[in-house]
């Protein structure tokens, strides 16, 4: 499998991660990006670059190298932090997955004998381009996570985040072992079961009740749309490969102009851009809507705890036993619930604003790119036709 060294700075603008998240103020106090990335074998190494005027950091500008597991560690630390229960935790970036691409390259290698050297080189170039595209995307996903954290008024101050950015040694965060993964699995089972119970509790607050209903349906539909867009774009990419092969065979019969090949390249760009503007957008909002659902769950959980604490307090007062303890518990639950509710409302409103803005930006850019490519294609095809028709 190819080892790719990729520099994000100065490269294609379309893969700029901020495409997905739009309300990030380019705040001079803290700017984070991934300036470089290296893919080797199973690992991807990201160079996280920070510029900050905050006093917390030793320098104003510095870089460290991080791997995917360290991003997950950071994300999980947010999730586990009770203080952040009232926030939509920026979703963790997906694991870099080159399996499909690697498999294709392998299959190509196996089929090398059955095609000409030229054909083979051609296909190899296409598949390598695909690999590179996937690579760029994973870099973008990791970058957008960091930017979301840096843009959040509270999370940006998190100590773990600062360690992540600054500590230039390995964080010694290993991937979860089997036992831990199993624990996680059970935690999730419990959580989703609990989630069902909690969501069954009718909320007094109209706003949250509406959000609950809305998010449930929305999340499912985004999930479906994301899967379908993925499938559509994958078959589009495969079709581009087929067309390239077809063109190849045609060339035996007729000197088809090289212009024709360029149209195939544009077609591949179309698929790549659809991937970025549409598929990635949906994937991201699938994760964000899950994070929003998680927030509602936590609030719902806190509400249930609060109501249970109220009941316990009444009971204690009635029996006149352990009243103080019950009062304390009730107060804690009340505070927790109110704290979450307060920030949750704003978070959910911000979520909607971000979502609408991101969709707008991406749909506009998608349409503009589709138009640009279609016009480019049209021109090339017409030139090609002119050449063919010209020399009889």
């Amino acid at each position: 499998p190819p080892s790719l060294h990729h520099k994000t700075s100065g490269s294609s603008k379309e893969s700029h991660p901020r495409a997905v998240n739009v309300d990030l103020q380019t705040d001079a106090t803290l700017q984070v990006d991934i300036s470089d990335a290296l893919s080797e074998r199973d690992k991807v190494k990201f160079t996280v670059h920070t510029k900050s005027t905050l006093p917390n950091f030793k320098q104003n500008e510095f870089s460290v190298v991080r791997q995917h597991e360290e991003f997950i560690w950071l994300h999980d630390s947010f999730v586990e932090n009770e203080e952040y229960a009232g926030f939509i935790i920026p979703p963790a970036p997906p694991r870099p997955d080159f399996d499909a691409s690697r498999e294709k390259l392998q299959k190509l290698g196996e089929g090398e004998g059955s095609m000409t050297k030229e054909e083979f080189t051609k296909m190899k170039q296409e598949l390598e381009a695909e690999y590179l595209a996937i690579f760029k995307k994973t870099v973008a996903m990791h970058e957008v996570f960091l930017c979301r954290v840096a843009a959040h008024p509270v999370l940006r101050k998190d100590l773990n985040f600062h360690v992540f950015l600054e500590y230039n040694q390995d964080l010694s965060v290993r991937g979860k072992n089997k036992k831990e993964k199993l624990e996680d699995f059970f935690k999730n089972v419990v959580k989703s079961a609990d989630g069902v119970i909690v969501s069954g509790v009718k909320d007094v607050d109209d706003f949250f009740e509406h959000e609950k209903t809305f998010l449930l349906e929305y999340h499912n539909r985004v999930k479906d749309a994301s899967a379908k867009s993925d499938r559509m774009i994958r078959s589009h990419k495969t079709l581009c490969l087929m067309e390239t092969f077809f063109l190849f065979v045609c060339r035996f019969f007729l000197k088809v102009s090289e212009l024709f090949e360029k149209t195939r390249k544009i077609e591949a760009r179309v698929a790549a851009d659809e991937d970025l503007k549409l598929a990635d957008l949906l994937k991201y909002y699938l994760r964000e809507s899950q994070a929003a659902k998680d927030l509602l769950y936590r609030r719902g959980r806190a509400l249930v705890d609060y109501e249970n604490a109220n009941k316990a307090l009444d009971k204690a007062r009635a029996k006149n036993k352990d009243v103080l303890q019950a009062e304390t518990t009730q107060q804690v639950c009340c505070q927790k619930f109110e704290k979450i509710s307060e920030s949750a409302k704003q978070e959910l409103i911000d979520f909607k604003t971000r979502r609408v803005a991101a969709f707008r930006k991406n749909l506009v850019e998608l349409a503009e790119l589709e138009l640009k490519h279609a016009k480019g294609n049209l021109q090339l095809l017409q030139s090609c036709l002119a050449v063919l028709k010209g020399d009889t």
Partner: protein, 483 residues
């Protein structure tokens, strides 16, 4: 419901003849025949049309990959009269014109009859700008009606006359619908209209190739076919169809192999050409495979696009921001339209290339056939030389035996075989010469044919891009309207 798509017909370059057929919708009345029907054999649906001795399923060959290794045997057409045709380069230029109406077909005709009972009108316009003395036709403009079986009959006659002297006689269209690919486009089989159009188009190409051939144009059978108002019903013949040609060629090839002819090829040109045709065959199969693959994947993309469109519509429904919701619904509509585009493109790809490929695979088998005939001719010549030698030896022996009668007979036989040897050599030279010329023509034509198809393909791609531009231009303001 999908609109009825009619496959684009391939217009071959016309420098001699242009015959096209336009079809008007089938009349529902089974028994009514147009007034000008003058064929003695009524084209009524109840007519039995016996074409073929084949007991086997007509469609059997259809789904096979065209391969030259068919084990089937079929008696070779008897060598009809073999006129020593000297090829003439015609100076007649004929302009094209089209008009045709298809005769009704009763639904309860039996399938075989129906298949070969299709009738087509040919309207032919002849113009002779050079005003040559070559007056092939009596009139400049005329219409005739022909059945599908008539075309097959014409081909069989031409094949019997010319194949064995090295002319590449254009193969007749397939009898069966499916042709050489197994790819089915659309959910249903070809509808009646599509089938007729496909057949019409195939017949057009066949006839064009035939009349573009300088020698065939002047053949009396061809002229009769084009001109005469009444055409004698094609008698049951063997080897009428393209598949029949295949069988014939296979038979010839096998016969050749059986004789284990090791021909001393003195002419490198022939060796080279045979190699080239092998290569062409390989490339055609590759093209076939890649077209099938292309069509298949395009259809898959179409399905996935449609699926995504529905999903986007659902997402738009649940989105609670009004303007965004609207934009997502619009996106869903755009994707639905794009799905339709993909379907149309796949359809066009399929028909465009499958027609061409089908034609060329059959043509190549015809070409290989003439090469094989040349070998047979050589072999016959060699055999005559061997026989002559024997006769001479026999005569030499008889010189010493005292049998004047037998000696006389031996001398006569020697003369006979000397003549045969000479004829054999002449035949061989003639067929070699013919083949050289034919192959040259074939190669020129091939480039033209492929060019035409690829131009059509590009034009369909152009159309697709234009539609895409339309759709996205309509969508863009909707996306911008999200506030």
């Amino acid at each position: 419901s999908r609109k009825q798509l009619v496959p684009p017909s391939v217009d071959l370059p016309r420098f001699l003849f242009r015959l096209c057929f336009q079809l008007s919708p089938t009349s529902p009345e089974p028994a009514s025949l147009p007034a000008e029907d003058i064929s003695t054999n009524s084209n009524g649906p109840k007519q039995e049309i016996l074409l073929d001795d084949d007991q086997e399923d007509l469609f059997a060959e259809a789904t096979e990959e065209v391969s030259l290794d068919s084990p089937e045997r079929e008696p070779i057409l008897s060598d009809g009269p073999s006129p020593a045709i000297t090829p003439v380069t015609p100076t007649v230029i004929i302009t094209p014109r089209v008009d045709a109406s298809m005769f009704d077909r009763s639904p309860d005709e039996d399938e075989e009859a129906e298949e070969n009972g299709d009738t087509f009108d040919l309207q032919i316009m002849v113009s002779d700008p050079e005003k040559t003395s070559l007056n092939l036709f009596n009139r400049n403009e005329f219409t005739v009606k022909r059945r599908f079986s008539d075309f097959l009959g014409l081909h069989s006659k031409l094949a019997s006359k010319y194949l064995h002297i090295g002319y590449i006689v254009p193969p007749a269209p397939e009898k069966s619908i499916v042709g050489m690919t197994k790819v089915k486009v659309g959910k249903e089989d070809l509808s009646s209209a599509e089938f007729v159009e496909k057949r019409r188009s195939a017949l057009e190409r066949y006839l064009m190739r035939t009349v573009n051939h300088p020698a065939l144009l002047k053949d009396p059978d061809v002229i009769q076919f084009l001109e005469s108002t009444e055409l004698p019903r094609a008698v049951s013949t063997q080897a009428l169809s393209g598949a029949g040609i295949l069988r014939m060629v296979n038979k010839a090839a096998e016969a050749v192999n059986k004789m284990t002819i090791k021909m001393n090829e003195s002419d490198a040109w022939f060796e080279e050409k045979q190699q080239q045709f092998e290569n062409l065959d390989v490339q055609l199969r590759k093209l076939h495979a890649s077209v099938e693959s292309l069509v298949c994947h395009r259809k898959e993309l179409s399905v996935n696009t449609a699926s995504f469109a529905k999903s986007a519509a659902m997402l738009g429904n649940s989105e609670d921001h009004t303007a965004l919701s609207r934009a997502l619904s619009q996106l869903a509509e755009v994707e639905e339209k794009i799905d339709q585009l993909h379907q149309e493109q796949a359809y066009a790809d399929f028909y465009l290339f499958s027609e061409l490929l089908g034609d060329y695979v059959r043509l190549i088998t015809a070409v290989k056939g003439v090469f094989d005939h040349r070998m047979k001719t050589w072999s016959k010549w060699q055999d005559a030389q061997v026989m002559l030698q024997r006769k001479r030896e026999a005569e030499a022996k008889l010189q010493y035996a005292n049998k004047p009668d037998k000696l006389q007979q031996a001398k006569e036989e020697i003369k006979e075989w000397e003549a045969k040897v000479q004829q054999g050599e002449r035949d061989f030279e003639q067929i070699s010469k013919n083949i050289r010329r034919e192959v040259g023509r074939f190669e020129k034509q091939r480039v033209k044919d492929f060019k035409v198809v690829i131009i059509k393909y590009l034009e369909s791609l152009v159309h697709t891009q234009q539609q895409l531009i339309k759709y996205w231009e309509a969508f863009l303001p909707e996306a911008k309207a999200i506030a």
